[in-house]
């Protein structure tokens, strides 16, 4: 059995799965249920100075496919709407009841050094393992100069991180917003401010949908709506990219990463770890299915590691990072052709019409004497784009086969067709 225990920012955790700062970690009751279910840690719902914020009703909106699957959700909630003291006393109690689990205190304050320092100290005194700076909330809080309003300005990221770093002697996590053009700028700022780890991503700014009867964005409150934070499975690709950028950037590559964003299955978890994550945080998946998903997250990850022979997380952490390169480093001579297994093909025609209408007219549909349809790839036309394989409903029916063309690895900068090639 693989060992799921790991360390991030010097904090040991029995497994890499923490619940992200959000409603699942809002109070003692939820958090103790999560620990009983097997979660390794939580980042407590973001705390601010009293008086607590007031939330509106109708807080979430959803993005579904036609088969009722939830692709993503967004929310317009603010930070904890309970008094600071109540939260801190609950944190103390959970720390006593679950000594082997991690609690990180998430916080947010207006951009004033004293406010950040005072709050950080209060939270640290409750016995948390670390402090996470919420610099990401893209709705509501940012209109008050907090959340993403801070996270989008590298200088403020650095300052707030430094203030907390100076105020407490426990690990500091800076939680980044994805609502920025280059994630490396805030990541490097966090590092410069003294962060022990970055946590990313917070939610993606979004309008989840429009109510066509009320003619207002969803969720609709009394005829009006606002932009909110998008999360869940749909944001995973955005998060993977940002994690990878930080992991392969020279300046930030040694920064610990608490990866967040759409993690729903053990496979998602393994992918983030492969791209350099030290540990993981989950919010939406737990909100949609409940805490017991932790069982399969642990189990599936452990089986995967056993199968591959990884004894612990660090055995495969970051293994995909060296293979994550710029487009200009790709091999222009690599050639793939789609191949259709006519034995398992069910003749739906999806590959044909996808390639015919929108790609390279490389899949032939031939009506056989018995009326059945035979689909085959015209190798000369196929550019190996993968579209047909993606739309084929039958697993393994279309495979992408490498062509053994015996050509060397040639990148675009060195490619003969590159007219911009610098003359040597």
């Amino acid at each position: 059995m693989a060992d799921l225990g790991c360390t991030i920012a010097g904090i040991e955790t029995i497994n890499p799965f923490w619940l992200a700062s959000a409603p699942p970690t809002d109070k003692q009751y939820n958090v103790e249920r999560a620990f009983a279910a097997g979660w390794g840690g939580v980042v407590w719902k973001t705390l601010g100075e009293d008086p607590p914020v007031v939330n509106v009703t109708s807080r979430y909106g959803v993005h579904k496919d036609t088969a009722r699957g939830i692709l993503g959700m967004n929310n317009i909630e603010l930070i904890s709407d309970r008094p600071l003291e109540v939260n801190l006393r609950e944190i103390e109690r959970v720390r006593t009841n679950y000594p082997d689990r991690v609690i990180i205190g998430s916080m947010m304050a207006p951009v004033e050094e004293e406010l950040w320092k005072e709050l950080a100290i209060k939270i640290a005194n409750s016995g948390v393992h670390g402090i996470e700076l919420n610099l990401g909330c893209p709705h509501g809080m940012c209109e008050r100069g907090m959340g993403s309003a801070i996270g989008q300005v590298p200088e403020l990221v650095q300052n707030t991180t430094r203030w907390v770093r100076e105020a407490v002697d426990i690990p500091v996590f800076t939680k980044l917003t994805p609502n920025t053009t280059d994630i490396l700028l805030p990541a490097e700022a966090a590092l410069a401010g003294g962060a022990d780890a970055v946590a990313l991503i917070n939610t993606v700014n979004s309008v989840i949908g429009v109510d066509l009867d009320q003619m207002a964005p969803k969720p609709v409150l009394d005829g009006k709506g606002t932009h909110g934070g998008y999360c869940g499975a749909a944001v995973k690709p955005i998060a993977l990219h940002m994690v990878a950028e930080i992991a392969r950037n020279v300046a930030t590559k040694d920064l610990d990463i608490s990866a967040i964003g759409g993690i729903t299955t053990w496979r998602d978890a393994a992918e983030f770890i492969a791209l350099g994550a030290n540990a993981l945080q989950v919010c939406t998946a737990a909100m949609l299915y409940g805490f017991r998903i932790i069982e399969d997250l642990n189990d599936g990850l452990s089986d995967f590691m056993d199968e591959k022979g990884y004894r612990n997380i660090s055995d495969f952490r970051g293994m995909a990072v060296p293979n994550t390169v710029n487009w200009n480093d790709l091999n222009m001579n690599y050639d793939l052709k789609a191949k259709i297994d006519t034995q398992t093909c069910i003749e739906c025609g999806r590959c044909h019409i996808a390639c015919e209408d929108t790609s390279h007219q490389a899949i032939l549909m031939q009506i056989q004497a018995d009326g059945s349809r035979k689909f085959s790839v015209i190798d000369d036309e196929c550019v190996g784009c993968n579209l047909c394989q993606m739309v084929c409903p039958v697993p393994e029916c279309i495979t992408m086969e490498p062509v053994d063309n015996a050509l060397p690895y040639v990148t675009w900068p060195d490619h003969p067709k590159n007219t911009m090639k610098s003359a040597e």
Partner: protein, 448 residues
């Protein structure tokens, strides 16, 4: 044999309530959740095999996608513009040998899309709203067409012609429209007077007038119609029920299965129907299966369907055979009827076992007797030849060309009375459609 008077005709063992339940919807409609989930399973195939297998070529992937995206009205429009009786077809089509047999998911997941249920889901609200607003008539052409028979073929032809702006006069021998939709399809497929409601929807387009109790060959004649109308369409179905030609066929309790079903369909109170307790059904087609199942559901103690060949040769599909079995019908294969016995009233039947030898059906001389107080004969229907006059026939059916035109210029035909494909509602609808196009062209419509 001992004369044991079985006068059980009255003592149906089922309560009126049970009978009502037995004739409720065979397949209840999908709820919105079921429809949404089923629709989202569909792969939206290109050049989809299911469409090719539909005689009316409904664009199935398109209408299913319309359901999936919440465009139910669009789904109904897609269906009904290809098949104006999409509602009946959703209930009556043997999809196991049509669209659903060819659905790629039958191969991929051993579980085809439930196309008929989705079709019904889309069409039913439109029929319930009884509006024909889905279709608008083209400007009136001033042409009038006579249609003989208000069955699926006749009504499909009438609707298509009306849409094109022609006026249609339908002559129907019976008192109600719908043909076998009204008188023949199994009751549990057509609950809540669906056939009549659907006809109401079809007539809502306007320009179609039906005269009832007008029999071709008795009240109206071809020459007269040809004179009065610009074109004629014949959709009279198959009026003659074939006879066994056996001794005892006229005994009390021996009945044409079609008449039995028609009585059942028209009965206001099914529990008042007289049904036997030991029923024998002769035949192996749809009609035999439907009669057998309905006799059982009316409360017969035992129903035995006797067919002279094997189950594999039956006209009834495997799905229908299974339905019969789950309804408690005994399927007796390889036996041919020899005689019907009884005094005034049927009491038993004598059969002889058969076998197949090098493709030939042979009698074995091995006889057996089955008791019966009701015998339903379902060995097929045939065309009423005597009323056809100069119309040319082939293989016992009216001969038509690709446009549905008979050997007589301006006279078209379709449905069960021609040899177009299987004798199915959906085929009759398609025949009507083809003939309407043929008539339109014949009247110069293609150019004008």
């Amino acid at each position: 044999m001992d004369e044991q008077p079985i006068d059980s005709a009255k003592d149906s063992r089922l309560s009126a309530q049970q009978i009502t339940r037995n004739f409720d919807d065979l397949h209840p409609p999908l709820n919105a959740q079921q429809a949404g989930m089923e629709a989202s399973r569909c792969l939206f195939c290109y050049d989809a095999p299911c469409v090719i297998a539909c005689p009316t070529a409904i664009d199935i992937p398109k209408f299913i996608r319309q359901i999936a995206t919440g465009n139910d009205a669009g789904a109904a429009r897609t269906i009904l513009s290809a098949n104006i009786m999409g509602g009946t077809c959703a209930r009556a089509c043997p999809t196991e040998i049509l669209c659903e047999q060819k659905c790629v998911l039958a191969k991929g997941e051993d579980h085809p899309i439930n196309i008929s249920a989705l079709q019904r889901h889309a069409v039913d609200p439109v029929i319930a709203a009884a509006s024909s607003h889905l279709f608008a008539r083209k400007p009136e052409t001033g042409k009038t067409i006579a249609i003989i028979g208000a069955g699926p073929a006749g009504l499909s032809c009438a609707h298509a012609l009306a849409v094109l702006g022609h006026d249609v006069q339908v002559f129907e021998a019976r008192e109600k429209p719908g043909g076998l939709n009204e008188y023949g399809l199994a009751a549990y497929k057509m609950v809540n007077d669906f056939a009549a409601r659907e006809v109401g929807f079809i007539l809502g387009i306007g320009g179609i007038c039906i005269e009832y109790n007008q029999a071709f060959g008795r009240d109206i004649f071809l020459e007269q119609l040809q004179e009065e109308f610009d074109a004629v369409f014949i959709g009279i179905g198959l009026g003659n029920a074939n006879l066994l030609g056996l001794a005892g066929e006229n005994l009390n309790g021996v009945q044409d299965a079609l008449q039995f079903i028609a009585d059942l369909r028209q009965a206001k109170d099914k529990s008042a129907l007289k049904t036997g307790q030991q029923v024998i059904v002769i035949g192996g087609g749809n009609t035999a299966i439907d009669a057998a199942i309905q006799a059982k559901r009316l409360g017969a103690n035992s129903v035995t369907m006797v067919y002279r060949r094997g189950l594999a040769q039956m006209g009834a599909t495997a799905w229908e055979q299974d339905l019969a079995k789950t309804n408690g019908v005994i399927l007796c294969e390889w036996a041919r009827p020899l005689k019907i016995q009884g005094k005034n009233k049927v009491q038993s039947m004598v059969f002889e076992r058969t076998k197949l030898e090098s493709g030939k059906l042979l009698a074995t001389g091995d006889e057996f007797v089955l008791p019966a107080d009701q015998v339903l004969v379902a060995i097929g229907q045939s065309l009423e030849n005597q009323i056809l006059g100069d119309l040319e026939t082939q293989y016992g059916k009216i001969k038509v060309d690709d446009d549905g035109q008979t050997n007589i210029c301006g006279v078209f035909a379709g449905g069960d009375c021609i040899a177009s494909g299987e004798d199915l509602t959906v085929q009759a609808v398609q025949d009507g459609k083809i003939a309407a196009k043929g008539i339109h062209n014949y009247l110069g419509g293609a150019n004008g």
